[in-house]
Amino acid sequence: MRLDLSGRGAALARHNTMLMLREPGPVISRLVQPLVLITLMRPLYLTAMHGSGGTIQVVTGMLVMFSLLALSIVGAGIFAERGWRTWDRLRATPARTTELLIGKAAPALALLIAQQAVVLGFGAAVFGLRVPDPWLLALAVGAWALALLSLGATLGAVARSQSELNVAYDIGGILLSAMGGALVPLAELPRWAHAIAPFSPGYWAMSALRGALTGQVAGTLRASAVLAAIALAAGALATWRVSRGWSRSRLM
């Protein structure tokens, strides 16, 4: 099977990038908010954590929380196609399902990676965040971006309404961030929180990113592998659902 990425896939990716940029509000918001909060909250984290660990915690914590909140951009992209009925219109063309999915996913993945790059770059440039191994960090960022993409697509594919989607993103984003130790370091949370933390993708994202920033290769690889597994599982569910479409007859 040959994917026509130079033609159909590229046309879809361009089209979806254009759609995202036509309404840039959510993108700008998810890029700027973590930078503001990192700047304002860093002194608090430095004091609480007695040193440079505070910078890593505030940068990775805000990155994880706002990247979870950025799931709304990915999911809204899928959900909007359902509302406009355009997804089934695309399915009626000669394009393969994989081409449709790649065309839809590529701009969203680029956005999720860009968001992390901006936050980490800001941390490095403004607050002296050290990156001992850029490749290890790139692996953690890539694995987390893929997990986010798949989770966002799944929510966008299965939600029954926009308000249901909003609730899932807002409450889910905060809950998974907090559970994963993004807001308060896990060591400061009660014992029961430690037990449930690994059920949050945010926990594995924090582990991967913090591991990469402190040079812990084994820990980063293990956490990245878990994130990749989450991406695969959620991606399979999203792919199965969107490939069935939402034609009128399906809703009867």
């Binding site: 254009m18 759609l19 309404e23 355009t86 089934d88 399915r91 009128r248 007859s249």
Partner: protein, 222 residues
């Protein structure tokens, strides 16, 4: 064009589709020859849209077969879709994308590239009287202009089978006239056209063979 498209257009036989106990299609059989316009009419719920969805591969039937230019559409749905231009019953447009962007996207998905794509977009825009609104987002168009845009995305390439599902609902008389003229021209050029509608005068204007559907079956052909 696929060689068999000169002799066979759409052949659908014995289609059955049941949703939660309701038979949307109940032995639906219909043939559209190359160069022929078949006007499919009938009450709401007669199975017209389900039939279009089955032919385009969006819905898989419980039984029956569909061939387009001799290609088994159920066994080779992607190959079949490459032979179809479809305009669904309900509007399926991106409100923030312009008419030109829609034409470029659907032209590219149909396999057109670069100069051929630009030329095809310009041609269909002119035929459908959309040239003046090419740069407008579809969210700002009138109902008739949106309908014409949707039909234009279906007809940007010369496909051997055209499926137009109530393409003129909500369209003004000018939009209707320009759309009917293009549909007639496509049939004269050899396309098999399936046109669903509730407006019988349109079928007369198209010179279509009228077929009536009811409860998932073809009742009568005039």
């Amino acid at each position: 064009m696929h060689s068999e498209c000169m002799t066979t257009g759409l052949v659908a036989a014995g289609l059955v589709k049941t949703y939660q106990g309701t038979r949307a299609l109940d032995g639906f059989t219909l043939t559209v020859a190359p160069g022929e316009i078949v006007g499919l009419t009938g009450r709401n719920g007669a199975g017209k849209t389900t039939f279009v969805e089955v032919v385009t591969g969006l819905v898989r039937p419980d039984a029956g077969q569909v061939r387009i230019c001799g290609v088994d559409a159920l066994a080779r749905p992607r190959a079949a879709r490459a032979l179809i231009g479809v305009s669904p019953q309900e509007l399926a447009l991106y409100p923030a994308a312009t008419v030109a962007e829609h034409l470029r996207l659907f032209g590219a998905l149909a396999g057109l590239r670069r100069a051929a794509l630009r030329q095809a977009a310009a041609d269909i825009a002119e035929q459908m009287q959309l040239t003046d609104v090419l740069a407008k987002p579809t969210g700002l168009l009138s109902g008739g202009q949106r309908k014409r845009t949707q039909a234009a995305t279906a007809m940007i390439t010369q496909r051997p089978l055209l499926l137009l599902d109530e393409p003129t609902v909500g369209a003004d008389p000018d939009s209707r006239s320009s759309l009917l003229a293009v549909v007639k021209a496509r049939a004269e050029a050899g396309a098999a056209v399936l046109y669903t509608t509730h407006y019988l005068p349109e079928l007369a204007e198209l010179g279509a063979r009228t077929v009536i559907a009811d409860k998932g079956r073809i009742l009568d052909a005039a």
